[in-house]
Amino acid sequence: MNKQINQKAWLFVLPVFILVAFNALIPLMTVVNYSVQETFGDNVFFWSGLLWFQEVLTSERFQNALIRQLIFTFSILAIEIPLGVAIALTMPRKGPWVPVCLVLMALPLLIPWNVVGAMWNIFALPDIGLLGYTLNALGFDYNFTSQPGDAWFTLILMDVWHWTSLVVLLAYAGLVSIPDAFYQAAKIDGAGSWAIFRHIQLPKMKRVLTIAVLLRFMDSFMIYTEVSVLTGGGPGNSTTLLSIDLVKIALGQFDLGPAAAMSLIYFLIILLLSWVFYTVMMRNEDQ
């Protein structure tokens, strides 16, 4: 065998390799490393096998955080996706108002996450915040810093305010890509606006909506900054979502092993659910 193997190609792959190694592989493997070991400080580690995984999965604290996380994510998906589509449908498709609407829509997306949290924290304060004060003045007993229900209400409202725009923009992009001829053809057929939505707009928006659901799912499942600034996980543990809990364990209690195991479980849940979403939504596409 005289075939010469050209090794130069490695040079072209190497930069990507290094980049991926530093931004994904090495940090991930460090976490894996922590998750199977026990340490008492001084950089001394002992093998602990799957102990931390067992501990995390069976702990009530993790299960509660996971349930809160699922409730939060599915609530905001249930609100933001239909609301985003509805807003996109009412936006003009041509004319001078298009850029105005697009900029207005994009505005919340441009605000840094911790600023959003701070804004809503002040906005919702019962004594001086516009929202909190108004609600109390209207006779509601509203205080998001002491009542779990109010905290959840504020949290979801903040997320809807911050992120519905993303769904709107994606849905809008799907809508404007539908040629006029489709609407005309439907009009000629005598189809009503519900039929047009159900049989033309929705199927044509399917791909962008899949992307919207995936993005919103992943982002909301990983949400940290805004919640941390708004409620810090409280009152009590009522808004302690997975990421908040994780930070408490890792940085608050410095339990590196359980925190690492939890990170991996957290990561696998997101991966699994994203796959489920994608498969379900694209089910009919490849037949």
């Binding site: 005309q184 053809a185 009009k187 000629i188 049989h199 009919n284």
Partner: protein, 355 residues
């Protein structure tokens, strides 16, 4: 069921999309709107259908004024250049959709969809989704949907433009047959003169928002009313030039001169326009009466059996279309032979001079 347009007009802002136009389309007729992109074909169709409101004039159907009537109340169907089908319906449901809106009984729907699917060779794919069909099948589905509901007016807006050559030929043959025994008015828009000739029926040549001429397709081709209509209805484009008549001679600059034809007899000396179709300008002399025309060769396109030579005549670019292979070098001065007995002579204002 005749469709009549009376002084119909469409103005958007300062742009005149359709100049006031009169047109009468007879029931059972196949009518072609022929013109380049932006000639106003689609706009005119939308006015006919009621998808767009005219800014002036009126649309009449069987004598009744339907100008303000909504398209859904008019019994119209339309097929577009893009393949327009409901993406999540099967082919059967797509074809059945107008009948479902009309609330026909299920057995009647089955019968009619079956019939039309048979006619358009879709019977084997009634269960499929449009995305699983080829382009030709998707367009046939759209046509089936247009045909299934017995419309009074069927509009086909460049339906074959997005199909490949072979399918285009196939469907083009089928089309006039499909409408053969129906008494609806069919309107077919195309940019291709050849397509118009192959489809037959009646043709309206369109240019910049005006119908320049309307009549039986063959007659329009043989007797263009003016320079513009002749240009619209020629592929490759008709060769035109300004000529000067002096006594009994006609001269094209200092390129060529020939005896004045009968149509110019008795007309005053001066400038006229001529139009000569590319297949009447040949690389070889076919007849002693042919007029030699010399010019610089700009482009030659050779297909298997035909040669197309673009060359410069005075200030104009002329095209010669001949059978066989006639190779010229770009830049060389070639002598071609124009059969001026087939030339159209137009008055300075563009109108055809009749014999």
């Amino acid at each position: 069921m005749a469709l009549e347009l009376k002084q119909i007009e469409k103005v958007v802002g300062r742009d005149v999309h359709i100049h006031p136009t009169d047109l009468v389309l007879e029931p059972g007729s196949f009518n072609i709107l022929l013109g380049t992109t932006l000639a106003g074909k689609t706009t005119l169709m939308q006015l006919m259908a009621g998808l767009d409101r005219p800014t002036g004039g009126s649309v009449h159907f069987n004598g009744a004024d339907v100008t303000g009537k909504r398209v859904q109340d008019r019994n119209v169907s339309m097929v577009y250049q893009q393949f327009i089908n409901y993406p999540n319906f099967s082919v059967f449901e797509n074809i059945a959709s107008p009948l479902r809106v009309a609330k026909l009984p299920e057995t009647e729907i089955k019968r009619r969809v079956g019939e039309i699917a048979e006619l358009l060779k879709l019977s084997a794919m009634l269960d499929r989704k449009p995305s699983e069909l080829s382009g030709g099948q998707q367009q046939r589905t759209a046509m089936a949907r247009a045909l299934v509901k017995d419309s009074d007016l069927v509009l086909l807006d460049e339906p074959l433009a997005n199909l490949d050559f072979k399918l285009r030929e196939e469907l083009r043959e089928e089309l006039p047959k499909l409408f053969g025994d129906r008494d609806c008015v069919v309107v077919y828009a195309t940019t291709e003169p050849t397509e118009a000739l192959l489809l037959g029926g009646y043709t309206a040549t369109m240019h910049e928002g005006r119908v320049t001429q309307f009549g039986p397709t063959g007659a329009i081709y043989r007797n263009p009313k003016d320079v513009i209509s002749a240009r619209v209805f020629s592929e490759p484009p008709i060769n035109t030039a300004w000529v000067v008549k002096e006594g009994d001679r006609v001269a094209l600059g200092n390129v060529a001169a020939w005896p004045a034809p009968d149509v110019l007899a008795g007309k005053p000396d001066g400038r006229y326009q001529i139009g000569l179709r590319p297949h009447h300008v040949l690389p070889l002399r076919a007849d002693a009466a042919d007029v030699p025309v010399a010019g610089e060769v700009l482009v030659t396109e050779l297909s298997g059996s035909e040669s197309v030579v673009h060359f410069k005549v005075g200030n104009e670019t002329w095209v010669s279309l001949a059978h066989g292979i006639h190779a010229f070098d770009v830049g060389e001065t070639a002598e071609l032979f124009a059969d001026m007995r087939h030339a159209f002579y137009f008055a300075p204002d563009g109108g055809l001079l009749a014999a």
